[in-house]
């Protein structure tokens, strides 16, 4: 890599109201390298990608493309420069077929007077590109009918069809199985040999060594450093990412654990998971680890009465319980903080107060129906107790930060007197400071005797916060560890 970089960032700074997302970031990308970009949530990885995509403009600093100063004004221009970005949530159209997706809005045409789309060429070229990637997908199959791993390859094929020289992959393995990851890495390697510059974003540290040539670490919007993969240890990368030792960010303390509050016995839900058994004690934090697609969310939904089960049973507070819908579960004292807040948890345009009380309106009913003053008083108390930063309880929840939204989801569950709380990816997409607050709240709630199930894909988080850890894989529980016995390696082994 003696030649000059195809792309370099020099002193890039990006501010948002109240936050500096990137502060003076330097960064070089060479042709024919796989450059891994790592950093905790909120470190500024996605801001950097969006600058590369032309979605955001930097406030300070310069971008050089082939040694010439460049301004990436919009997505179209980024594409013309040969930059393709495969986002974590794919931009594919499920109702269209593979060829249509790959050539969307760039369809070749034939004919002079009437320009007809050249479908046969589209399918021919799609076949060729897929062949080059060594994937066996019929160019005419509907994207919606294909598994997620194929979606990843189709997105990459799309990038190749655009003759991209820079390929950005954002968390490409988060929904893939181990075999699929292996395949993907093979393909990335062959792209590298063709001279494509790959920017690979991941928070899965074990992947860095497997695929990367160089690694750049960001922390809280700052550039920490770039290193050649051969010369750096994973421990060093972690230290660079966190800026401190791993254990210290988790405020876990030993605490007394009471009797069993919820037992799950042989629970199964068709097409999702089978024969799942575990118990949860009062005051206990039970971590559930596993890869995305291990059906942890489905398990949570089934406990919460939102997904039908075909076998097994729940014992709640010593009695067999059956929740036919979330309403039953909430009434019994089960609270779920869903992973996808925007879709399953929040009413974005409603106020903080209405969001908190939305699952337990009957608790607000007085002689003359719902009592707004009672609602305000109660919700203001929650806002104070949970330290939610909001101008007032009348503020629309969508205008708050992710961390504060998460606290409101928590208040919502507390309002309905939940004794069992299921946190699904509780710290996904929130910044480090808010994370610690959420952890402290979890400990406080456990200290009050509530049972907590924490589903998390971040292994350090599971290790750092749980009293006991279950690992799921493809709809089954594959391992159980006590806090003392659990290590990152053991968990990974059970999850993979």
């Amino acid at each position: 890599m003696s030649q000059s970089p195809i792309l370099s960032f020099k002193g890039i700074t990006k501010r948002f109201p109240g936050v500096v997302a990137l502060r003076g970031v330097d960064f070089d990308l060479y042709e024919g390298e796989v450059h891994v970009l790592v950093g905790a949530n909120g470190a500024g990885k996605s801001t950097l990608v969006k600058i590369l995509a032309g979605v955001y403009q930097p406030d300070e600093g310069e971008i050089f493309f082939n040694d010439k100063r460049a301004i990436i004004r919009n997505a179209e221009q980024a594409r013309r420069m040969g930059i393709s970005i495969v986002y974590q949530n794919f931009n594919l159209i499920n109702k269209m077929d593979v060829g249509q997706n790959i050539f969307l809005n760039r369809e070749p045409t034939v004919g002079k007077i009437v320009r007809r789309v050249d479908w046969s060429r589209i399918y021919r070229e799609t076949s060729a590109i897929l062949k080059r990637l060594h994937v066996h997908i019929d160019p005419k199959s509907l994207v919606g009918d294909l598994p997620v791993a194929d979606h990843q390859m189709i997105e990459i094929a799309k990038a190749l069809a655009m003759q991209s020289r820079i390929l950005v992959l954002d968390e490409p393995t988060s929904s893939l199985s181990e075999q699929e990851i292996e395949d993907l890495f093979h393909r990335i390697s062959s792209l590298r040999e063709e001279g494509v510059a790959v920017l690979y974003i991941s928070h899965r540290l074990e992947e860095i060594k497997r695929i990367g040539d160089r690694v750049t670490v960001l922390r809280d919007g700052e550039y920490v450093g770039s290193e050649s993969i051969e010369k750096i240890s994973l421990e060093k990368v972690i230290k660079m990412m966190l800026g401190r030792e791993v254990e210290k960010i988790y405020p876990w303390k030993p605490r007394p654990v009471g009797e069993v509050v919820l037992s799950v016995e042989g629970l199964g839900s068709r097409g999702a998971f089978e024969n799942v058994s575990f118990s949860l004690r009062k005051g206990e934090i039970l971590g559930i680890s596993g890869l995305v697609g291990a059906r942890r969310t489905e398990l949570a939904l089934a406990i919460f009465g939102a997904l039908p089960t075909h076998s097994g049973r729940l014992i709640y507070k010593g009695k067999a319980a059956r929740f036919n819908n979330p309403g039953d579960a909430i009434a019994a004292g089960i609270g779920l903080l869903p992973e996808d807040k925007a879709r399953y948890g929040m009413f974005p345009i409603l106020s903080v107060a209405h969001n908190i009380t939305s699952a337990g309106l009957s608790l607000l009913v007085r002689r003359f129906g719902l009592n707004p003053r009672l609602e305000r008083n109660i919700t203001e108390e929650y806002v104070r107790k949970l330290n939610v930063r909001t101008p007032s309880v009348k503020t629309e929840i969508q205008s708050l930060s992710g961390g504060n939204q998460q606290k409101i989801m928590l208040a919502k569950s507390l309002f309905t007197n939940s004794e069992v709380l299921i946190f699904d990816e509780p710290t996904k997409g929130i910044d480090v400071g808010a994370k610690e607050e959420i952890y402290n709240l979890m400990l406080e709630l456990a200290g009050e005797g509530r049972g907590i199930i924490m589903i998390s894909s971040e292994i350090p988080e599971v290790l750092g916060m749980s009293d006991r850890i279950l690992v799921m894989k493809e709809g089954r529980i594959t391992a159980e560890f006590d806090r003392e016995n659990a290590t990152q390696e053991k968990i990974l082994e059970a999850a993979l």
Partner: protein, 330 residues
């Protein structure tokens, strides 16, 4: 849901149909159902199976056909146009008004022009302000409906001399080799619409918008421009139907579109098995959908069943087809 089998499972639970049957129905069900209806009607209903009766049904149907082409474009792109009835009335009035003073061809142009213009307005509002298409076209439904009534104070325009506008009249009533001209026109526009959807980049963009608006825009598809074009074409389709109605009746009837036009334009698209949320379907399905509605009504007519009862039957059929059509909305 992340994994494909999950959504299949969820769907199966929702529709209660086994997967295999759903897939089968999704592909061929509408066509099979249409043939079954035709076959049963041919056996059971006297006078149903005759060339004259079929041509009759096809002729009546053709006046609505153009509107359904426009609606197909709109629905495939993920919208819905509620202004159709009013635009047909307005176009009919505009055509008739000029035909009455001896300028039938100007009248045709005016009919097409005014309806397209209304579509252009709706499309611009939707495209630029991103107002919901249903709300926008609901507004246009009132607006254009009001205009159609306004100029003549709600009265019909009569007194078009058939002998002076023979060619114009031929458009709607003429026959070539015994086949009504409107039916031929309907067929020509069917192929045009099909070509537009299947063989042009414009068509591909329509499916993309209906399939996933966000992804379509990330691919560089211009939302505003697409909405403006689609709704203008939708308006134009009403202009064709409205002007042809004026040519047929030789009368400008300000309420002509108020009845079944809107219901049939959406109904045909849905009964034909197109996805009401856009992204999947084709104009052939729409034509089958409209044929199902019209041949069914015709059969009931011939059996001497009252219009009111017919409506109930049609309602049941629409619901049935929508339920079975769920199969396609994967």
């Amino acid at each position: 849901m992340r994994v494909n089998s999950d959504s299949t499972l969820a769907l199966q639970r929702k529709t209660g149909l086994p997967f295999e049957l759903r897939a089968y129905w999704g592909r061929y069900g509408t066509y099979v159902a249409f043939l079954v209806i035709l076959a049963i009607a041919s056996i059971v209903v006297p006078h149903f199976l005759s060339i004259d009766n079929f041509l009759n049904v096809l002729t009546t149907m053709s006046f609505v056909l153009f509107v359904t082409y426009g609606q197909t474009l709109v629905i495939l792109s993920g919208g819905m146009d509620l202004s159709h009835g009013s635009l047909v009335s307005l176009a009919c009035m505009a055509s008739a008004a000029l035909a009455a003073i001896g300028h039938p061809w100007l009248g045709l142009a005016a009919g097409l022009g005014v309806a397209s213009f209304c579509g252009l307005i709706s499309g611009s509002i939707i495209g630029i302000t991103r107002l919901n298409p249903i709300i926008t076209t609901l507004g246009m439904l009132y607006l254009a409906g009001g205009l159609a009534l306004y100029f003549t104070n709600g009265k019909s325009i009569t007194g078009i001399d058939a002998s002076k506008v023979q060619d114009f009249h031929f458009l709607a009533e003429g026959r070539i080799l015994h086949v009504p001209f409107v039916v031929i026109l309907g067929l020509v526009f069917f192929f045009l619409t099909h070509f537009l959807l299947r063989h042009t980049r414009f068509g591909s963009r329509i499916y993309a918008l209906g399939g996933n608006e966000e992804a379509a825009e990330i691919a560089g598809i211009n939302y505003a421009r697409m909405k403006i074009l689609i709704f203008t074409l939708s308006g134009l389709s009403c202009g064709i139907s409205g002007s042809l109605l004026a040519a047929r009746m030789l009368t400008g009837e300000p309420r002509v579109g108020a009845g079944t036009f809107l219901l049939e334009s959406i109904g045909a698209v849905v009964v034909g098995g197109n996805d009401i949320f856009g992204g999947t379907g084709n104009v052939g399905r729409t034509v089958i959908g409209l044929m199902i509605l019209h041949f069914l009504t015709n059969a009931l007519d011939l059996m001497g069943i009252s219009t009111f009862t017919q409506q109930v039957v049609v309602g049941v059929v629409v619901l049935l087809f929508c339920y079975l059509g769920l199969a396609r909305n994967k």
